[in-house]
Subunit: 357 residues, 2 copies
Amino acid sequence: MSADEFTVIHDLFAPHATSEGARALRDDAAIFKASGTLVVTTDTIVEGVHFLGEDPIETVAMKALRVNVSDLVAKGARPVAALLNLVWSDARPATEIATFADSLGRDLKFFGVELVGGDTTSTPGPLTIAMTLFGEPLGARVPARGDAQVGEDVWLVGGEIGSAWLGLQLRRGEIGVARLREGRDEMQAQADSRRLAQSMPDYLKMPNEDFDAEAAWLMTAYLAPFVRPECAAIVSQFASASMDVSDGLVADAAKLAEASEVAVKVDINAVPFSIPAERWAFSGGDVRKLITGGDDYVVLFTAASELRGAIEAAEVGQALRLSRIGAVEPGRGVTVVDAKGQAMTIPDTGYSHKLGR
Amino acid sequence: MSADEFTVIHDLFAPHATSEGARALRDDAAIFKASGTLVVTTDTIVEGVHFLGEDPIETVAMKALRVNVSDLVAKGARPVAALLNLVWSDARPATEIATFADSLGRDLKFFGVELVGGDTTSTPGPLTIAMTLFGEPLGARVPARGDAQVGEDVWLVGGEIGSAWLGLQLRRGEIGVARLREGRDEMQAQADSRRLAQSMPDYLKMPNEDFDAEAAWLMTAYLAPFVRPECAAIVSQFASASMDVSDGLVADAAKLAEASEVAVKVDINAVPFSIPAERWAFSGGDVRKLITGGDDYVVLFTAASELRGAIEAAEVGQALRLSRIGAVEPGRGVTVVDAKGQAMTIPDTGYSHKLGR
């Protein structure tokens, strides 16, 4: 049974909008008290373009929020408030909206973000979600893409490269779980799987019938990117240029290089891959897929080489995978070098949406 | 030929984003310097839901902006900055994006709004546009829907009720131009049409082959709502409660009444209709369609009755149609009374989106 727009807003979303300025989502505008600099970002995700129609609605909500949190974190900002434009597909059951709202509510809480407003409407097309996030910069500077200087180091922080791409292939059935097993210690993997199977919510397990911890981890990286707000502190303390990696490491490094009018050299051996991704590449997988696939949602930044010691000494958890992956050089574009220092040929520089016919 | 997302942003939208904080739309976030209170609103329009697929792309851009400007104006705020989420349909030619961007650019300029950021992506579904607007309140108070008090007057300012609904019927062919002519002075109407035909942009003339000034005016009210930023001053000076009328006068008055926990009485004779709408109603049209149809985008507000003289003395242009249309009373809900003071039966209280199946 379809649901009424005003009932949905009042019953499902208003409980997550408790600040005074949100006016319980019953007004036409939100009131936002601001002093100083706000960092504002907005990103839209579309079913069939940014997520699969069969992805769990719980993780669709998480992805809609997290792709935006990722942009703020990469600017060294703390996310504080959000607007939601929910364009619900006529083809989807209205009962899913409650699940969406619950999951979004949990994730807003997790990231300390207050829902302050939005808009709910229907579409004959695919489910479409835009979110707009407001953040407070932790430092005085908000690094741009274009602030890299020749001689600086290039860093990644926030997680792994390529896991989300592998997860998407698993979801699509392009790569099977059997392929992941090549060369691995099955005793250990099965113990891991039993442990993880108990703690993981059900919606993250399907459609992985024969539950496998590694596959579940990779698919979760695709479904609900592991965005780490702690990275904002690293960015605000040390970064010259920074941006999040969302369209593939090579493509995004190319954007940073272009905006800064420099060249970026990346050492493939220094790029943080997950254990299954590394094993997949060593057993015949094309490592270039990992660095050109998208949806990583980690932070790429540059910093003066004099800061190298301070950055390495910064207290970041292992999960953040803080890694010095290359250098800013004179010139233009991105070069990826292999273990022998040879430039690799990269056929595909990542994802750009084609618009219209 | 399809267009590349980054080229579209750089070539078509960046020229309208010249503030420092917009970073020429080449960064992942916008920097927004704010001090004090910001009023923030966001609204999405979807092809086939909020506009027709055959509506000119120029007015689709204008509507996407204006429905949001309308929300800010109704809160007594001056619009200053905008974010655009453009979700372009795969079925539409990419060449239309330039026309969309040009028209949006002109309208942003007209309303004094700076584009500071956004997002462009593709969809297999209908064209979908979300805009988020930031406004600065002109006064210390930002009136809510829920601030009406028993004994106050109910006012409308900003334009006419029902013109957009009539315009939509004309666009859809539900009402023909011949029907508009009933009872009118054809000599005058033809002179008006000749004059207007010369000044009106071509995209507003179709599909009205036999060009008629009244029909064109009504259709334009639907296509590109005549939102008047001057209304914000009236709101900020005088309004207790206020909101924009977008879902139909009766439905929106009901929302104001509900949020304020009062009843609203509307005198149908005091409601500002356009000349063709009034003639249409007098010659057999159902006036209740005019007050329940949507897309008016005028401001509904309440004000203490002691302010009546000051409001009537306020210098507002005739086009703003400042009208005292009723009173706030004890009770709940909306009553519309006719010339004899009799309550009218209103069958349909306006538009609410049904979500999902």
